[in-house]
């Protein structure tokens, strides 16, 4: 294995680490939503008209992540507050919060491929549902799929004709149709 391959393998290993969201986030979001609009909350127009005097400084990647989470949370809650004719939070938010899915990143290195599609139990084995994107010019392809707890079988379809298993995932033993599959197991969060 060349040094370049080593580097790619390490990059794949890092990219493959699941993105874990703090389980307490749901509770915090729901608590915020259930609390409802504060009686003295200013209208959104008033907020927009206020002069912006703060200073924005992101000093670390973690800080950036926290800021992004805060912006996302703000957007979510803000959408509720800004919804016209809305007197209470939409019930779909509760459904979204109750259904916890983990963002699972799939990565494969296929130099020279023109298309790579991720197919599996999670997308009805569709040739079109989850095309992978080239992460860079070195043949690294990636896709992220939200998966709830469970065991899923999958494979990569290269250029519409060639099947590949994931070299860094367990092989499925229940392959009934020839080309083997890989397995990803998502635990409850």
């Amino acid at each position: 294995m060349s040094e370049h391959d080593d580097w790619l393998a390490q990059a794949v290993e890092v990219l493959r680490e699941p993105v874990r969201i703090d389980p307490a986030l749901d509770r915090r979001v729901m608590a915020e939503i259930e609390r409802g609009p504060a009686p003295d909350r200013p209208g959104w127009r008033e907020v927009l008209r206020r002069p912006f005097g703060g200073q924005l400084a992101v000093t670390s990647p973690l800080g950036g992540l926290a800021l992004a989470a805060a912006v996302a949370l703000g957007a979510l809650v803000g959408r509720t507050w800004l919804a016209p004719d809305s007197t209470e939070p939409p019930s779909t938010l509760g459904t979204m919060a109750a259904s916890v899915a983990e963002a699972v990143q799939f990565v494969i290195v296929v130099p020279g491929a023109t298309s790579v599609v991720l197919v599996g139990d999670f997308n009805d084995w569709s040739r079109t549902a989850t095309p992978m994107r080239p992460a860079d010019g070195d043949g690294v392809w990636a896709a992220t799929v939200p998966l709830e707890a469970g065991r899923y079988r999958y494979a990569f379809l290269i250029d519409g004709t060639r099947w590949l298993t994931d070299p860094s995932a367990p092989r499925s033993l229940d392959d009934d149709f020839g080309p083997p599959n890989s397995v990803v197991t998502v635990g409850a969060t």
Binding site: V119, D121, D124, W125, S126, R127, E148, A149, G150, R151, R153, L157, W163, P170, R171, S172, L173, D174, D176, F177, G178, P179, N181, V183, T185, G187, A188
Partner: protein, 214 residues
């Protein structure tokens, strides 16, 4: 008499047509599974539904066969076999088992696990999901651990291990095997490590019981 016969024929015809169209057709199979096979699979789905089995894994299996270009009879055979495995999994894991537990349980059975071993696992973890534990069992067999050894290892971790512990355990064994260790040796080393961690109480809040060696 003639009128009665006519009404009888009409009634029988209506019942026949009604029963023929009563079974639900899975829309995702339409156009992807060859026609005679699709009808049989729809019947298998109906049967599974009537028995309270999850149908989603059966649809997935059929669609996998379709995308891989398998002939219809082979797809039907695979769906039928999986339905049987799901039913066995439910029989040993319990009627209240979640669909994902049955799917993982079926995989463990396909890997060669004895149904009694799954029942024992349920007894050891009565209030916890068995999805990850049984899935890890199948994964360990897939990397070359003998099935009895894999069963014993998963059972030895059953008291107190969380899903993340099982996944980390499997990942470590796989890594060791990839680096050249024999599957059995890798499993033994990792079980020893878990036992040592439990003995020292350095499990960072985990309460994994000290495993017994398979």
């Amino acid at each position: 008499m003639r009128r009665i016969t006519r009404w009888t024929i009409a009634l029988v015809g209506a019942v026949t047509v009604g029963s023929a169209s009563a079974h639900a057709q899975e829309p995702r199979l339409e156009g992807r599974i060859p026609e005679p096979a699709r009808q049989t699979i729809d019947l298998l789905l109906d049967s599974a539904r009537a028995r309270g089995l999850p149908t989603e894994p059966l649809v997935d299996r059929a669609l996998e066969g379709a995308i891989k270009g398998a002939p219809g009879d082979r797809i039907v055979a695979a769906v039928r076999r999986l339905a049987g495995e799901l039913e066995t999994a439910r029989a040993v894991l319990g009627d209240a088992s979640a669909a994902e537990e049955l799917i993982a349980g079926a995989s463990a059975l396909r890997a060669g696990a004895d149904p009694d071993a799954l029942a024992e696992l349920r007894r050891a973890r009565p209030a916890q999901s068995l999805t990850v534990a049984t899935s890890v069992l199948a994964d360990l067999v897939a990397v070359g651990v003998p099935v009895d050894t894999a069963v014993s290892a998963v059972l030895s971790l059953a008291t107190g291990a969380e899903d993340a512990d099982y996944i980390a355990f499997r990942r470590n064994v796989e890594r060791d095997v990839a680096l050249g260790a024999s599957p059995v040796a890798a499993l033994g080393v990792r079980l020893d490590a878990v036992a040592a961690e439990a003995d020292l109480g350095t499990g960072a809040g985990r309460t994994v019981a000290a495993p017994r060696k398979p």
